[in-house]
Amino acid sequence: MERRSVIGGLGLGLAGAATLLSSSRARAEGKAFTVALIPGLTTDAFYITMHRGAAAAAKALGVNLVFQGAPSFNAVEQVPVLDAVIARKPDALLIAPTDKVQLIQPLQAAVSAGIPVITVDTYIGGGVYQTGSGNADFPLSYIASNNTLGGQMAARALAKAIGGKGKVYVSNVQPGVSTTDERQDGFIDEMKKSFPGITVLNTQFNDDDANKAASQSQSVLARNSDLAGIFGANLFSAMGAANGLQQGGAGGKVKVVAFDAPQTIIGNIKTGLIDIAIAQHPAEIGWFGVAAAYAHLTGQSIPPAIATGFTVIDKSNVDDASIQKFIYAS
């Protein structure tokens, strides 16, 4: 148990060291490329983990990596950061755009300045690049996990855990966020298609407030004594829902599936508060982002889309050595 905090502390130190190392190690045979990574927000374990993967690839390839972003997930704060990064003329730009439409023009400016763009985790326009259609197909590649698929995997894992029958619902942040919308849609569609014994109740939106998510799960539980499972579409949705069950005396009885795998969720899996986590592979996204940029800069062709994977983490495998790399940490 104490190991967790030690790992956390170590991770923090390592991230700093890795950044320093990667920027000081230039390739002897020529000019070192500089690649900028702009996350959706800087204060999120997912993007911090993506940075870790990107830093590993940068170190391996002798690339300078710049990591700069805004503290919250919105275009108004991200665009000034993007402009500042463009002004410093990196050789390539990796970005998780915070809006499908509002980031098109600012990213077009990067391309006009001669900086190739790759989007990671989120996309602009329709997310299908290099097709010659529309005004937002100019990024070279889109590297991300398929959130709809993630939602489907959550549905399968939850259905298995509750024996294919009972009531479930999605605890979600707010409507209109592409990634969480896709997780929800994937979850609900898969439940309807493959598990006729399961009833999906109304989605509850919590504004990313764990307290609200907890109140909602208590309320749904009070209304539906046969509630069997909850899918928390992000950290606070899952954390709050699980706490509501605990407060309501149904902890462990009603199964909770969480999307993403930060330390907090992993801790909750160990204590049994949360049953299953669908972990994305943000480090993989960062690694392939830098690798794709490097390939492009050295004259190789790169695929217009790279899909990264998922890992299902539960109590049976949470301590396995092979799982540790999927836990979000810097």
């Binding site: 905090s5 800087t42 204060t43 374990a45 911090i48 503290p71 309320s219 209304r223 954390m239 979000y328």
Partner: protein
């Protein structure tokens, strides 16, 4: 606006005026009562089950209300004095993160109880710093509260994220999680802790000289100064108290969710201000009560919980809370107008 109000000086309307004043002063209670009655009838008709006569529901609403109530306590004091504290949300997050770290680190070698104690002490001491700076900015440097605490909102936010390493800090301390999720005689511990602080702050505001000064500063700062009250000192203490209640909120959050989250209080700031306003405090200062704020927070909690319980489309929750705020302020305004109130225009 007031030209269309012939009733103002009509003597025959004395009774009507009294009724309006009575309704206005008890409006939070009336709202809460109406809500409960409507939800109870609705629940009986639609589902054949009770809403209020269920200990499960009561407990759930109480647990939900804890976070906005604690933020609202300090916020009420500050608003009565004519100020506002926008920084409480992230002061709460800062306390949550510090409590988590200290409880983990101290608890690792000194055991869970000492870890909890250290976490509480260090987190609360830390929250006094932003509170004190807020007070200094506003009382000494005469910076408008809205701007001063907005600045501190950013500083506390950044500090909380820095301490947390940009993410949430998992907590491993059985005493802290008991504080957050345990029960004594069926009552959640966090509710008991909250009731104790409600009583303390209520006493401070209604029974002490300090409380009188707080109202006086909000009512007329200049006159209070001339009366020889140390307005600066009282103001600084008010903002420190506001930070302190936010800190307690953060510690309870950390215990409850077994995680110190920097953004824990971000969505709660507006709920806390709404609770204070629905509870009858004026944003111009000089009026308001702790009990009013508690009722305000309970109204928000009952709406949030009840509409989910009644299976209403989620977006109606926002509309319902928004309507209650508007109607509440309207009642307040009409009372001031008809009652020849002080601060109309």
């Amino acid at each position: 606006m007031s030209s269309a109000l012939p009733t103002r000086s009509a003597p025959g309307n004395l009774r009507g005026r009294r009724i309006i004043a009575a309704v206005a002063s008890a409006r939070a209670w009336i709202f809460l009562l109406l809500l409960l009655v409507v939800f109870e009838i609705w629940s009986q008709i639609a589902y054949g089950s009770t809403f209020i006569f269920s200990s499960f529901n009561i407990r759930s609403v109480a647990v939900f209300a804890v976070a906005p109530v604690l933020l609202g306590l300090g916020q009420t004091l500050v608003i009565i004095s004519g100020g506002i504290d926008l920084s409480v949300g992230f002061t709460m997050g800062l306390a949550a993160v510090i409590a988590a770290h200290v409880a983990n680190d101290v608890g690792a070698f000194a055991g869970a109880p000492i870890g909890l104690l250290a976490g509480v002490v260090v987190a609360l001491a830390a929250t006094l710093i932003p509170g004190w700076i807020n007070g200094l900015l506003i009382a000494r440097l005469r910076i408008p509260p809205f701007i001063g605490t907005l600045g501190m909102y950013g500083v506390a936010r950044g500090a909380a994220y820095l301490f947390a390493g940009g993410t949430t800090v998992p907590v491993d301390n059985s005493w802290l999680t008991y504080l957050g999720n345990g029960r004594i005689l069926g009552i959640p511990v966090i509710v008991i802790v909250t009731v104790i602080f409600v009583a303390l702050v209520h006493y401070l505001l209604s029974e002490t000289q300090f409380g009188q000064y707080t109202y006086a500063i909000g009512g007329n700062r200049q006159a209070t100064l001339r009366a020889g009250v140390n307005v600066r000192r009282v103001t600084i203490i008010l903002y420190m108290l506001s930070a302190l209640t936010a800190g307690i909120d953060g510690i309870l959050y950390t215990g409850r969710f077994a995680a110190g989250a920097p953004q824990a209080g971000e969505p709660l700031l507006l709920d806390s201000i709404a609770a204070v306003v629905i509870g009858g405090a004026s944003l111009f200062g000089g009026s308001g009560t702790i009990i009013g704020t508690i009722i305000g927070a309970l109204i928000i909690a009952v709406i949030q919980y009840g509409l989910v319980f009644l299976n209403v489309e989620p977006f109606w929750q926002f509309i319902a809370v928004g309507l209650v705020i508007i109607v509440s302020v309207l009642v307040d305004q009409s009372q001031r107008r008809f009652g020849g109130g002080r601060q109309d225009e």
